[in-house]
């Protein structure tokens, strides 16, 4: 294999493909590598940790076809460190040679035969608007759990809802639900659980245009331009989230999104060691308070419109800021039942997104 490619093109392609590379090779050392396959002028780079595989295609000046597995992190670091301009990569025997200008590197290759083969999904493909999906993922993925001890909660539920698609994620403290009306991707009643890590990576590569989705029995493949992302689906039953959403909310706060986020950023400086931020809800506005024993306290008043019973409700400031940041528009609403029941954060302008957040018990 031998080809020439512009450094910046190669850096970007390696940066994307290596995001799926296993951090530790584990049982399959070849997974610490990125597979490079050159046919003509088309180079396809693949990284995989078996659960997630990312393939990126780039146009290069090909000189000799071939396949090789290069050590992923090392190759990415080398190419990134080179001077701007053309990078030459050539495979000879057990070595991959990377050169540019007066810099030359030789790296030991990994056995290409050991690299797992990715089965092509035979499922029908559907097309989604990339920008809309990117926005939905930005809003929902944040609520998924990172705790591998509860694998179901590390996924995002993609379910058919009416004539569209619904995305749902929860880490048991908060729940994010986003509807994409008109995005008929799944059959009626069909639902799949996609790892949030994969969707986070998908969100990074989504820009404009369309994304093609193929849903297999055990995996899902998303194709965006020259990037193909294949992820294993999570097996298991997602919690019955519908019953968690209160049907009525007697109390409703309407507040500017940016002023609330700014106030939260300031006040949470004094919300240390899992200290919650308390919000005093009253007719003429709200007051945010954080008190950390032996450290200090912060207070901030904020203009807002509140209809309902005066109360003090407390939240994990990170989770609250996550929800407020995720909604679209200039104003958000915070709907509550009481200080111990889940609150709902929504946009004033759109009902397509809902962020349900459990309060923190305070004395």
């Amino acid at each position: 294999m031998k080809f020439r490619c512009e450094r910046d093109v190669l850096v970007e392609a390696l940066g994307t493909a290596t995001r799926a590379v296993a951090s530790r090779g584990g049982a399959l050392p070849v997974l610490s590598g990125v597979k490079a396959e050159l046919i003509g002028n088309r180079l396809v780079l693949s990284g995989s940790d078996l659960d997630l595989t990312i393939q990126v295609g780039v146009e290069v000046a090909g000189q000799a076809d071939g396949v090789a597995v290069l050590p992923a992190r090392l190759t990415a670091d080398i190419v990134r460190a080179l001077e701007p301009g053309a990078v030459h990569i050539e495979v000879e025997g057990e070595e991959g040679r990377i050169s540019s200008g007066r810099s030359q590197f030789a790296v030991r290759l990994l056995p290409a035969d050991d690299f797992p083969r990715l089965a092509e999904s035979a499922a029908d493909e559907v097309t989604l608007d990339a920008a809309a999906l990117a926005e939905a993922l930005r809003q929902v993925v944040r609520a998924a759990s990172h705790d591998d001890a509860r694998p179901i909660l590390t996924g995002v539920l993609m379910a058919a809802e009416g004539d569209g698609l619904r995305l749902v994620a929860t880490d048991s403290y908060r729940l994010a639900v986003r509807d994409l009306p008109g995005a008929s991707v799944l059959r009626e009643g069909q639902a799949v659980l996609v790892p949030s890590k994969a969707l986070g990576e998908l969100g990074r590569v989504l820009t404009t245009g369309t994304v093609t989705l193929r849903l297999g029995e055990r995996d899902a493949t998303f194709v965006v331009g020259d990037t193909r992302l294949t992820t294993r689906l999570i097996e298991g039953e997602f919690p019955n989230y519908r019953q968690l959403i209160p049907s009525t909310h007697p109390n409703r706060l309407t507040v500017g999104r940016e002023p609330l986020l700014d106030a939260l950023r300031r006040v949470k400086l004094l919300a240390r060691e899992a200290t919650p931020v308390r919000i005093t809800l009253k007719g003429e506005g709200i007051e945010l308070t954080a008190i950390t024993q032996d450290v200090g306290q912060a207070h901030e008043d904020l203009d807002a419109k509140y209809e309902g019973t005066e109360m003090v409700i407390a939240f994990n400031p990170e989770y609250l800021a996550d929800g407020v940041e995720a909604v679209e528009g200039d104003e958000v609403t915070l709907e509550t039942v009481d200080a111990l029941k889940p609150a709902v954060v929504r946009s004033v302008e759109s009902q397509d997104y809902l962020y349900l957040l459990m309060p923190v018990r305070v004395s």
Binding site: A149, E235, A274, P276, N316, L356, M358
Partner: protein, 219 residues
């Protein structure tokens, strides 16, 4: 596990050539079929090794280890100082913290968490392949073997299956049913457990500790 301390030299032929000159080293042969050669430094890291499956041919003064890809590790032995073998059995796995032991202690203190009417017979009930975490009797007097894990994986289910097989040999206990208890049970482990008639129970550590969370959960 076989431990050999020997004065030896080692030659590797494969993707490259490597030579370890004559010196006293530890040769570690594990039951999984691997071999590794260690010096008295580098912590856990061997000087050279070959992963299973590999074939080891021992001749007087010379061992030849061959991998399926044709790589060879030739160990030329000048003198064997020690050659001992121990059967280690099935390893219980790495315990990252004390949660597993604490879960066992908490459950032993109140086995009705597992089912109403359950009573504890003994913690660490011995079998000839190792102790099962809890042995209980259910409300109807039937023996119940309980294996406790922080994260319930297939290996834990298989471990419990082996314990049940051993306990079932005891006429005073037979038939023994199993409960696989973990803070979370992986879906594959749940499928395997259910196929073997073993019940899975997810444990709430905070509930067992009677810790009231300030941060409440949706479910």
């Amino acid at each position: 596990m076989r431990l050999v301390i020997a004065t030896c030299s080692v030659d590797y032929q494969g993707r490259l050539s490597a030579h370890l000159p004559m010196a006293t080293r530890l040769l570690l042969l594990k039951a999984d079929g691997s071999i590794s050669i260690h010096a008295d430094d580098r912590a856990y890291k061997p000087l050279n090794w070959m992963n299973p499956p590999c074939r080891i041919v021992e001749e007087p003064g010379r061992w030849v280890v061959t991998s399926p890809k044709g790589e060879t590790l030739t160990i030329t032995i000048d003198e064997v100082h020690t050659d001992v073998s121990h059967h280690l059995g099935v390893d219980p796995g790495l315990q990252k913290d004390g949660v597993e032991a604490h879960l066992q202690e908490l459950l032993a203190a109140d086995v009705t968490y597992l089912a109403d009417g359950m009573v504890l017979v003994r913690r660490e009930y011995p079998t000839d392949i190792g102790p099962v975490d809890l042995l209980c009797r259910d409300g109807e007097g039937a023996a119940v073997a309980v294996e406790i894990k922080r994260v319930g994986e297939i290996a834990g289910v298989e471990q419990l299956v082996r314990y049940i097989e051993r306990l079932d040999l005891d006429g005073r206990l037979r038939p023994v049913r199993g409960i696989f208890a973990a803070q979370s049970v992986k879906p594959q482990a749940r499928v395997l457990a259910e196929s073997r008639g073993i019940a899975c129970i997810e444990l709430d550590y905070d509930l067992l500790r009677k810790v009231e969370r300030a941060e409440m959960r949706l479910f």
